[in-house]
Every structure is written in C-alpha cells, then in structure tokens.
Symmetry: C2
Subunit: 347 residues, 2 copies
C-alpha cells in the first residue's frame, strides 16, 4: 500500500487521480430528517425495528409524525451526509439525488450547497413532496428511522451524467438506492460510468433490513461491481447469512474488494485480500444520537482514500468523523472536520 | 403579595383563577426559525443590528438564506416559544398565530401541539408562505434575527375568539405584533376581551428596535392596557428614552403595571408600585445560543404568576427556563421544565 496512490486500485482497475477534478461523487436518496427525542415505548408501539430503517408511505408518515414530539428539521440522506462530511474534511465533493421544489426541497439544496458540495440535480416541479426520514432518538442515543422516499423515487439513470461521475476519484453509492426501483438502475449505470473512466466504485450496504430485501443484488454488487464496500456488523452478516463476523469478513475478502466494516464502540476493521487492519473507535465525551455514525465514518474513510492515504489513516479519519456526529443531534457534522483532523494528519 | 392569588390584580382589575380553564393564552407571530452558526463578518456585511431583529421581505429572505451556512429548522415565534415553555412547566396553555398550509406551517402546528399546547388558528390556504426567522448565531452565542413575517401578517382581530381569551388566567402578547398592521388591532382587541373577563393582560416589548418603531403605541399600552410587562434593559430604556436603567424602571412603576426587567447575566428586576425585587440569573454550564432567552424567562414567570406564586418565585422560574434555553441551539426548551423546576418548587 503506497501513501501516494489514491487507495489501492482494486479489481485490477487503475485509478488516475491526476484526471479527477473531484474527490468523491455521491449518489443517494435525498431526504430531510425530522428528529425527535422519544421513549422506547413509542418505538415498541409502532412495531418498527429499533435501530433500523423502515420504509413508509405518505399516509403512514403523516400518522407517525402526529405521534412524534416536537422535532427538529435538518437535511439528511445517507450518502448526502457522507458527501457533506467529505467536504467538511476539505474534499472536493459532488452529490446527485432528487428533491421536489417545495420548502423542504429548498432546505435540502441550500444546506448541501452551503457546505461547498456541488449539487446540480434538477428539483422536480410535481409528484410527491421531498422525501423525509422521521427519526426517533431514544434515551440510549439509538436512532430508529422511518423513511418516506417521496421525490427521491424519481431519481433515475437519466439523472446520472457520465462526465460528472468520471470527474470523481471515487464514486460512492448508498445501498438504500435499491429501494426505489428506478434508482437501482441509476446505481448500476453510475458504477459502469465510473469504471469506464478508471475510477473507484464504493458503496455502503446501508442497513441489514435493506440487505435482506435486496440480498442477491447486493451479493452481485460486492462480487463484481464494487471496489470498496462499507458495512456494519449486522449488514455484512446479513449479506453472508452468518452469525459469525469473522466468516462474513472472509466472505468479502474472497472477491478482491476492500471492506471497511464498522463495529460501533469496537471501532472498525478494514479487510483486503492481503491484510486485516483493526482501527480503534475515537473517544466520545457524550453519546447523544447515533444518527449518521456510519455515514460519517464513510466520509472520513473516503476523504483519506481519495487522497491516497493508507487504509489505517482512512479508518482513523472515519472514526474521528463518526465520533463527532454521534456527540450531537443530527446526521451532519456540527464542527469543521478539517480542523478536527489536523492533528491526526500532522497539519 | 399573597402566594395564593394568581399574581397581584393590577390596575384594580380582579382576577378569578377559579373560572380559568387555561393558565396562559399567548398571541404572536407564528414563525419557523432557520438557525445557522455564522461569523461576525456576515452580520457586519449584512449591515443588520447584531442582537436585534430586522424585518425583511421575501426577496431579501431568499438572498440572505443563500449567504447562510447549513441550517437547522425549528419552530419558533416569540410568544409561541413562551407558551411552549409554559406547557413544559406543566401549565395549561393556548396559542393563536397564523401560518400557511405549507410544509413549514405544518411543522409549526405539529411542534406546538406536540408540547400539549392547544393551537386552533386556521392555516391559510393562500397568500404568503409561513413566516420564518433567519437567525445568525455568532461565536459569542449572540443571535441576530431577520424576520420574513409571511403568513403571520394575516393574523387579525377576527382570529381572536373572546371566549378563548377569557378562558386564560393571563393573556400574553408579543410586542412584535405591532409590526404587522392588522395584528396591532388584534393585540388591542384581545387585551380588551381579557380585561372584560377580569383577566391579567401581559406583554413583552420584544426588541428595542421594535420599541423605536412603535414607541407611542407601546407607551400607551404600558400606561393604560397592560398589567404585566416584560422587557430587557435596552427595551425599557428605549421606551422611556433614557440611558439610565433606574430611570426607566421608575417610569414603568408610575403606571401601576408590574414590570419584569431582564438584564442578561445580571438576572432580572421585578418592579411593582410597592417593591423592587432583584432576581439572580440561573447558572449556565455552557452558553451556546441566546435565542429564546427572553421568551423562556417570560414562560417561567407567567407559569408561576398564573398559579399565584410570589413574584420572587416567578422570577426564579423565569431565570431557570432562560438558563435552559441558552445552553443549546434553538428557542424552545430541550428539557422538561417541570422536572427542572421541581427542586425550586419543593416538588
């Protein structure tokens, strides 16, 4: 592993960072988060899996919102959070994802652009309203998500500009894109464009229930189309249908992809064909809300990876960003990550 | 001062708490806050008074929003924040104020109802969108507000139900209501209904620039129509055109109204015809954002006042609520105020 190449060129695809105008291009479901502090009792009463993500329709969203306490609205969306994190580290970042031209859509577009991310996807003038994620944060700081995809279901392959994808050293795709049917196709098309341009394709498995819903497609991706995969313990176990983390980690190694596997307070494990790197978690003063932990881990890792840092440093940057985001409410960094990372990077 | 009457009956108007189904009825401009952390440089560049509230039109709101960093959306509105605080103390509270039936209007209605406040004002189906307050929070925790009144300008006297006003021990009106022309009339009508029912009328002067804009009307109010007035040092000085706080405090005493005058970290002074009560500030671990400090002081004071507590306790409850709200981002309590107040109230 050299510290000057932009991460290892996996699947024998060379990466040429000199031609990349952007570090990371992310594609995902564009959502506004609606966060409230709730008791476990509400999560139980709703019958949704605690810590997971449940897809809901608009009627259910209205019903659930009525049951929620006073909330805070903040831009979200898994890959969008990651891309904002990349920009906060000082990375050059772009995002693709669909919102409507309503108030929350304008909030989403404002917030992502205000962080320095380039975001050009056209807002839709009709159809469902901007998607939202109703997030119940319980006293244990765990988040339980209920997503109304809204306008994000209209994101499709025609929204993916080949030149834009080719402009990024690394393409980053969220597994949640497998929920809206047309976005699945956009996912595959974008991966194809990136590989054609010699770029790295990365993806996150997003959620163990999402893996269950789309397991065959995810296996195909990891085995044939993705160079760098992010997953937490539950997700990688779901992918390989095993209760044994070591078995799951071996599974992903066989396919030549790099895997960054997060394990909450136990840090993460970066697995390649040749090595296994244990990365400790970054200390947290007070755990407030785990929303965005995986998204921000990916942002640190991707920033380092796109800049050619070694995998241990990529993992450490991931831990740093995850620790920042879980120390406050909301899934986007509240502190400049470049400043936080400066000591770690010797800057 | 008795501890069993609901605050002193001022201006010789008796108060009958036994007939009141509600502790406090509040009327104000219904707004959603858009808060972002900004440098002083942006405030200077905008040329708006730091720490004050500037009225802006929709074009200016769009322009200013574009200059702001990533933001958080939370329900706001001065009197609405106060009323939510009263409910958080365990008080029975109602609110009147106008939003549109757009996404932010639904957010406003959801959040206030979710705290237990009764809110029945009809959402408008057309006209300007829900009002918003663009709040720049600078590193010194000071907030600078830029308000697009939006739908709140449509609140008028016909929205004020005499029975609803009569149902509350105390009516609470924000001075900002003097900015939308029709709301001024609603202010006067509501005060009239409350007095006819033998209730206490309270109001806040809101902002020193607001006092400057409507000084004669405010003087008339304090001298003839309001039994309990809330103001900070700058506001009461602006009302009496003096640089001397003691002179300003004497001014308000002459008219028989009770005045609760807040002085930031120096606490507050409660002034009546007969006495002057100094109330210390409540300690704060970390000052994060002063948005809502005055609003929440009023909530604690009003809760105590409507329940017949002595003025020193009313002031202490105000200090407690203000300390809570300035220790985090946003203008509404993040902690149950009844729980926080229990030791102070011997519960």
């Amino acid at each position: 592993m050299s510290a000057v190449t932009p991460g290892p060129a996996t699947h024998d695809r060379p990466v040429d960072p000199s031609g990349a105008a952007v570090d990371v291009v992310g594609i995902g479901n564009a959502l506004v988060d609606v966060l409230s502090h709730e008791d476990d009792e509400l999560v139980e009463r709703l019958g949704v899996p605690k810590g997971g993500m449940t897809l809901i329709d608009e009627d259910r969203a209205i019903e659930l919102y009525r049951l929620m306490g006073p909330a805070v609205e903040m831009s979200g969306g898994s890959a969008a959070n990651t891309i904002v994190g990349v920009a906060s580290f000082g990375g050059r970042a772009r995002y693709l994802g669909k919102v409507r031209d309503d108030q929350l859509g304008k909030v989403f577009a404002h917030d992502i652009r205000a962080t320095g991310v380039r975001y050009d996807t056209a807002l839709t003038a009709d159809g469902p309203s901007t998607g939202c994620c109703l997030i119940l944060v319980t006293p244990d700081a765990q988040r339980t998500m209920n997503t109304f995809l809204g306008a994000s279901v209209h994101f499709n392959a025609t929204d993916v500009d080949p030149e834009l994808v080719a402009a990024g050293s690394v393409l980053y795709l969220e597994g949640y894109l497998f929920d809206p049917p047309e976005a699945q196709e956009a996912f595959r098309v974008a991966a194809h464009y990136a590989h054609d341009a010699g770029r790295v394709v990365s993806a996150t498995l997003s959620d163990s229930f999402c893996v269950e819903r789309h397991r065959d497609a995810f296996l195909d991706l990891v085995e044939h189309h993705v160079d760098l995969v992010f997953a937490n313990e539950a997700e990688i176990k779901a992918l390989y249908r095993t209760d044994d983390f070591a078995v799951a980690a071996q599974g992903v190694r066989r396919h030549g992809a790099i895997a960054a596997l997060t394990r909450s307070e136990r840090g993460s494990v970066v697995v390649t064909e040749d090595e296994i790197i244990e990365v400790p978690a970054h200390p947290v003063d007070e755990l407030v809300d785990t929303t965005g932990a995986g998204d921000l881990y990916a942002s640190g890792f991707l920033y380092g990876f796109s800049r050619g840092m070694d995998l241990a440093t990529c993992g450490a940057l991931g831990s740093l960003a995850a620790a920042e985001v879980i120390s406050h409410l909301g899934a986007r960094p509240a502190t400049d990550l470049a400043t936080l990372a400066a000591p770690l990077l010797g800057r």
